[in-house]
């Protein structure tokens, strides 16, 4: 091997508006290694990678590739150096087809200068197949589930035969078996000498696939070491400064009245014959793989989709919800998944994003009280540990995890009796996850009905009283929180076992 590492970032410093975000950070990546980059929300991981990807320029410090100093003036230069970047937020163009997104900016042409659609479709199909995905390359991206979009985003980076692939939280919307396919692929890439920088808040994944790790805290390098030597608890401690238990939460409270009853809900092509109930104080989980229809189900309940049949009762009263506003009036709140598309208003400030669904709480005689908004935000900032220097800046300046916390705050503020969380801890660090679970538990104790949708079986197993597993638009199994096992959930989620055996 060579003397110098493949990529070295030395003494990188970066500040935004006078606020230092990276302080003399050093990162070295060898050829053919998978290097984990870890740290709390807002630690500076994405910023460091944006510098390596040519998106941001460092204030000082140098970047060496193969021992030579390089100035990465823009993303094109970075790509030309063999660096591919899978960004934390999805960057798909919904109105383009899958293959058009894959080859955006690097289209394949025939000898005559026309687009070679066939070849592009073939390559798209090939790469997606490696990830175990079979979708029509000519499908419009807007029609696809989030997890597919994320897989396409990953495939796009694989297209460019890169030397280094940066993966900034690539698995936030993926189910377990999709993740394991990705890992097999990553290990193969590694064998062929490609290096990968892998950012994730799912520590189990990290341990499984990474060779070395680097931990950042508040923009400073805390430690770089070999993965094998460490157990997860130590790493957690390095990241958040305390150890975090992974045990199941014990609930000891009585449920109240029926809060939500759903009967025979059907929407052609999305879900069918859905029955379930949620009591006050109960936490109900829904899990399954991509295409299981759970998100569509709850988007329908929340009034975002209108074409469905069946009956819905809130507190015993039948309701007909045709718009999210009506859902809110009926006492339902919904934290959507995919924050960039569905939740973030990027031109509004952090505070204004927080108050958007509950303006009534901040008005006096029809006028918004800025001070009240500010005070309320400070409460959430403390409760959820939101890292923001100046809450009047637009929300897109926050780190991904902190944006997610603001969205959760927004729906906590709406104070609805029923709260639906779709993939609520997307991109949230281990410490903050704990705080959010705690919040959810407190809400349940106060008698709110909680529904949690997640592609991660362990997440629903940790906090839910009961769990519904969905497969192809149907509920195939129901468990109570303490009797569920990951393995069994997987059987039902993949359709290996069917309804009737379990439901009773």
């Amino acid at each position: 091997m060579e003397m110098h590492p493949f990529v070295a970032m030395n003494g990188i410093e970066k500040s935004f508006n006078g606020v230092p975000v990276l302080k003399k950070v050093t990162l070295e990546v060898e050829r053919g290694e998978i290097h984990a980059l870890l740290g709390e929300n807002g630690a500076g991981k994405s910023t460091l990678m944006n510098i390596l990807g040519g998106v941001h320029q460092p204030d000082s410090g140098q970047i060496l590739i193969g021992g030579e100093e390089i100035k990465l003036a823009n993303p094109h230069v970075s790509q030309a150096q063999g660096i591919s970047f899978i960004h934390q937020e999805l960057n798909m163009v919904g109105d383009l087809r899958v293959y058009e997104n894959m080859f955006l900016g690097s289209e394949i042409r025939t000898r005559f200068g026309f687009l070679n659609v066939e070849e592009m479709c073939r390559q798209t199909h090939e790469i997606l197949a490696q990830l175990g995905v079979s979708i029509d390359p000519k499908e419009y991206v807007r029609n696809l589930a989030t997890s597919y979009k994320q897989l396409i985003e990953i495939s796009k980076a694989l297209l460019h035969k890169s030397q280094l692939i940066i993966m900034d939280e690539p698995t936030t919307s993926l189910a377990e078996h999709e993740v394991s396919r990705l890992f097999i692929l990553m290990k193969n890439l590694k064998k062929s000498g490609v290096s990968i920088i892998y950012i994730s808040h799912k520590l189990k994944e990290i341990q499984e696939v990474c060779d070395r790790y680097t931990v950042l805290r508040d923009g400073q390098l805390v430690k770089t070491d070999i993965m094998q030597n460490e157990n997860l608890e130590v790493i957690t401690k390095l990241m958040v400064g305390k150890s975090i238990s992974q045990d199941r939460y014990v609930h000891e409270h009585e449920f109240g009245e029926l809060a939500l009853e759903v009967q025979g809900l059907t929407s052609t092509g999305l879900f069918k014959h859905i029955d379930f109930t949620v009591r006050q104080g109960e936490i109900v989980g829904f899990t399954g793989l991509a295409g299981d229809g759970r998100t569509e189900l709850f988007e329908s309940l929340f009034g975002y989709r209108k074409k469905y049949t069946g009956t819905v009762k809130v507190k015993g009263k039948p309701v007909h919800i045709t718009h999210p506003r009506k859902a809110l009036q009926a006492g339902m709140g919904y934290v959507p998944k995919d924050r960039k598309e569905n939740a973030i208003i990027k031109d509004l400030s952090v505070i204004h994003n927080m108050s958007l669904s509950s303006m009534g709480n901040f008005e006096r005689m029809g006028f918004i009280q800025d001070k009240k908004e500010q005070e309320q935000f400070n409460t959430y900032k403390k409760a959820l540990n939101i890292k923001v220097h100046n809450p009047r800046i637009t929300i897109d300046k926050l780190s991904g995890g902190n944006q997610q916390k603001v969205i959760i705050a927004k729906w906590l503020e709406a104070e609805t009796d029923i709260l639906i969380f779709d993939n609520p801890t997307q991109g949230i660090d281990v410490g903050a996850k704990q705080e959010i679970y705690q919040q959810i538990l407190t809400l349940a104790k106060l008698g709110k009905a909680i529904i949690i949708l997640s592609s991660e079986a362990p997440e629903v197993m940790r906090i839910c009283h009961s769990i519904h597993v969905m497969y192809h638009g149907e509920i195939t199994a129901r468990f109570t929180g303490d009797e569920a096992s990951e393995e069994e959930i997987m059987h039902y989620a993949t359709g290996a076992k069917r309804e009737g055996e379990k439901i009773g």
Binding site: V19, P324, E341, H352, L356, F367, I368
Partner: protein, 324 residues
């Protein structure tokens, strides 16, 4: 907040630089305004004459009122091309109502009603019919003009009620009524956009419509409200326009007003696709246009060339916007 920054982290050279870029990006219209203002006073001493200054304000007031509404429409992610035609239609019908009833109040209310109704129709087409605002209001532009021409038989209609002309031609102290109306409207729209939920929702909708809807905002109603609002403002502008000369032409009144209004909004820094922009910016945008017009008149630039200069300014403004 800026002071807190400086307390915690001593501002070093990069942050001074970044603060300057921030200042420029936030207030570039005002800076441009100051530069143009100083340039104008240096080039022609008559420019600073108080009567000339008041004259500029008077000249921009009608477009200014429309541009306020246009700002709101463009913040919501739409556009309204029908303002000029609706102004003519509202003017024509209101003069008929004025003459028939002999009441100034009836005339004014008719103008407001016609304006709001046309706006409401635009809103319905955009929100419920899901027609692109460009197309919907283009249709309204043709339709409203045609009805105005039909009613007035292609010509002008004049008011026959004494006192109607007072609306646009009287003044309070040194300010003409239209200027006062413009500023009152500006304050009202500012408050609406920054102190009420309607304004907040408009920004949200222009920035990310899906997320706005999932935040339980009645996106349709807000859109209808936005177009109705600009319609009402056009109605007010129609009253002033009609009252100024006590007549309105069905063929030429209001023509190209949409261009001037859109120009003012863009020069004022509002983003074409919505979600970002300020009422204050539009006010300075309209003042910049007014000063340029005034300067060209004072310097005897051919009126045929004035459009060229205006076009140039718009393009420069857009280029600056793109840079950020």
């Amino acid at each position: 907040m800026a002071n807190i920054d400086t307390k915690e982290y001593s501002p070093e050279s990069p942050s001074v630089k970044s603060r300057l870029t921030w200042l420029w990006s936030e207030y570039s219209v005002i800076i441009a305004f100051v530069i143009i203002y100083i340039g104008a006073s240096a080039m022609n001493p008559r420019f600073l004459d108080i009567n000339n200054q008041l004259n500029i304000l008077m000249q921009v007031s009608i477009i200014g009122i429309i541009a306020l509404g246009m700002t709101v429409v463009m913040l919501s992610g739409g556009i309204d091309l029908s303002v000029g035609s609706v102004l003519a239609l509202a003017g024509v019908i209101s003069v008929l109502a004025l003459n028939a009833s002999g009441s100034i109040l009836v005339g004014v209310f008719t103008a407001l009603l016609v304006g709001s109704f046309a706006g409401f129709l635009n809103g319905l087409m955009v929100a419920k019919g899901r027609i692109a605002s460009f197309i919907a209001t283009l249709g309204m532009m043709a339709g409203a003009r045609s009805i105005a021409l039909y009613i007035a038989e292609g010509g002008s209609v004049s008011g026959e009620v004494s006192g109607f002309t007072a609306i646009a031609n009287n003044n309070l102290w040194i300010f003409d009524f239209p200027v006062i109306i413009f500023f009152v409207m500006a304050v009202l729209i500012y408050v609406l956009m920054h102190k009420t939920r309607f304004g907040r929702y408009v920004y949200a909708l222009g920035s990310n419509e899906k997320a706005a809807m999932l935040s339980a905002i009645r996106v349709d109603r807000i859109k209808i409200g936005v177009y109705t609002l600009i319609g009402t403002l056009v109605g007010i502008a129609a009253v002033i326009e009609t009252s100024r000369l006590n007549s309105i032409s069905s063929s030429s009144s209001g023509s190209q007003y949409e261009l001037d209004a859109i120009a003012a909004v863009i020069i004022g820094g509002t983003r074409m696709t919505g979600g970002r922009g300020k009422i204050i910016g539009t006010i300075f945008g309209i003042l910049i246009l007014g000063i340029l017009n005034n300067m060209m008149n004072l310097m005897n630039v051919s009126p045929h060339l004035q459009g060229f200069v205006k076009g140039l300014i718009i393009i420069i403004a857009v280029v600056f916007q793109k840079r950020e």
